[in-house]
Structures are given as structure tokens and as C-alpha cells.
Symmetry: C2
Subunit: 152 residues, 2 copies
Amino acid sequence: MSTAEPPRPSFAETLEVRDRCLCFATQRAARALSRRFDDAFRPLELTNGQYSLMMALNQPQPPSLGRVADFLAMDRSTLTAALKPLVRRGLVAVAEDPRDRRGRRPSLTDAGRALLAAALPIWRETHAAVDAELDAAGAGPAELRAALWSLA
Amino acid sequence: MSTAEPPRPSFAETLEVRDRCLCFATQRAARALSRRFDDAFRPLELTNGQYSLMMALNQPQPPSLGRVADFLAMDRSTLTAALKPLVRRGLVAVAEDPRDRRGRRPSLTDAGRALLAAALPIWRETHAAVDAELDAAGAGPAELRAALWSLA
DNA sequence: ACAATATGGTTTGATATCAACATAAACTTC
DNA sequence: GAAGTTTATGTTGATATCAAACCATATTGT
């Protein structure tokens, strides 16, 4: 028969995905939260991703790039790219690992630490507001955190 | 005094952000879930974002770009860009809105609906696995979904 | 009808993201 | 110690993401 209907998902199936897909819900929330923290950090010309990355670098011993990427659940090549603007701005320095000549060890500069210190109260304030909204919605920030961490 | 210490966040503060930041946890989970669904959809050369977008277009009446962007909690300009590869592949067509000459109405083509129908069982399978893992971790998929939706 | 404003989309420029491939150094096995 | 393997990272090319500036069409106020 030449008049076969092409397969098509029903609208009910669309609603099923909309109402159930955790991937979609997470991407959506990630976009919304990104914007919110980006707005808050904007006076410092810092994005939420840069804030998280710099925080991850604020350790007693500089971690390897691989360890940072794993911690952020991010591709290694993404991390390489993400470091570039920070290095360019003098917030992060990348040193060679003396024990392994393949390895490179990123760390915050004094300027990076100073900027991160300035960002911290902004984070606290913004985060407290988000927490409060979740509580008001009965959503349980602690459980949400735990569930999100269990996904990666 | 010329030897003033530059301000620096303590390591304890770094741990506080790591353990409490919902923005970070959400970005991290979003990356991990993205990869997972991207892997699953790879045989169809479809990303999780393209899947969600196409699902959002599977409606009785083509929505406006603005409404789709709101629904995805995504910038309008992001949506414009995201549609391009789909239009190029002939999966989506964008028509003019007869009632408002500024407006454009995206909709799935037959090829788009067929691909989406092929993707649906892959989504079901992958999503069931994620759901099961969350349950096993005692994380409560339904509560997680509700919390994520309350953020946007 | 005209001017001012609002709305729907696009373009541009920057960063973010990943997969696939490439490179180099360390390690392992023989 | 040479060959093969694994590990750490970088490069390239594509899509995703946003804000800011912009253009065209509606809408509103007078």
C-alpha cells in the first residue's frame, strides 16, 4: 500500500515524557539555576560554572585536571576549555606536575582567591533564597541534593 | 603595611559549597544525565536536547517560539540556534504565523515524527534504568522531579 | 493617523559542552 | 630494555547556551 501512515508519537506520549523525564527536568532546572546565579555573579564578571570550577581548585594541594573533571562530572576537554578564560584573566595558573611530566596542576592565583572570596557572600545570599523557595514548595533541599548527587 | 594577606576562601568554605550548592549539584547531574541519554540516542544521531525539543513540538497546534522557549526554560536565541540543525536535517519545519507576521511556528515533519517515534522506546528503556537506580538509592524519582520543576 | 512602546525573533560574540582523534609520558611485560 | 598498554592531556569540529544589540511587526495612547 502506498498510503501507509508514517509512524508518529501520540500527544499522550509527549505528555508522558514532559511529566516524567528526569533528564529534561534536570536540564531545565540547570538552565534556570544557571541564569539565576549568573545574574548574581555578574558584577564580578563570573559565571556559576566558573565559580564552581574555582571552588573546586581551592584545595590545599592542586588536583590533577582529570580529578577536577571527574569531580565536576565534566569531560576532560571541557575542563581544558573552561580553564582558558580564567587563566587569561590571571585568576588561575596551571603548573607542570614535577612528578609526572604529562600532568598539569591548576591552582588559584592571589587574584583568583580574592575574587572567589568576593563571590562567596553572593553565593550564600543567592543560595539561601533558592533553599527557602524550595522549602516553601515543600521540596526538601537536602533530599534534592542527595538525589542529584546520586545521579553522577 | 605592605605585607597584607590577600583575602582567600578557606578550605572549609569550599567544602560548604561542594556539599550544599544546588546549582552545582544540578549542573553536575545535568551533565551526567545528558551524556547518558546522548549515548542512548546516538544510533539515531539525536541528542537528549534535540529529543526534548522535538517532543515539545509534538503538539496538536504548533506553538510559538516564545512559548517553546519558556517551556524549556531556555533563552529564545538558544532555541533559534537549536532549531537550525533540526531544520537542516528536515526533521522540523518552521512556518510563518498567519495571524502575526512576526511570529514563526515550528512543527515536526513526517521524518521528524518518525525519528521521534523511533527514539521513544530508547527513552523509555533508558529512563526506566535511571528511575530504578534512583529508587535503589532511596532518592525518590517523583519527589526529585517535583523539586526540579519547582526551580523553574 | 502618528508617535511611543511592547512583543516576537534573529544575529553576534563569548563561553560551555561533548566525542573523536592525536600526542606524549608513564607503566608493564617479556 | 624494547614493545605494547595504559594514563593524562590537548586539539578539532559540532552543538548548546546566554546576553546584548538589533529589526520588524503589533499595540497603545493621544
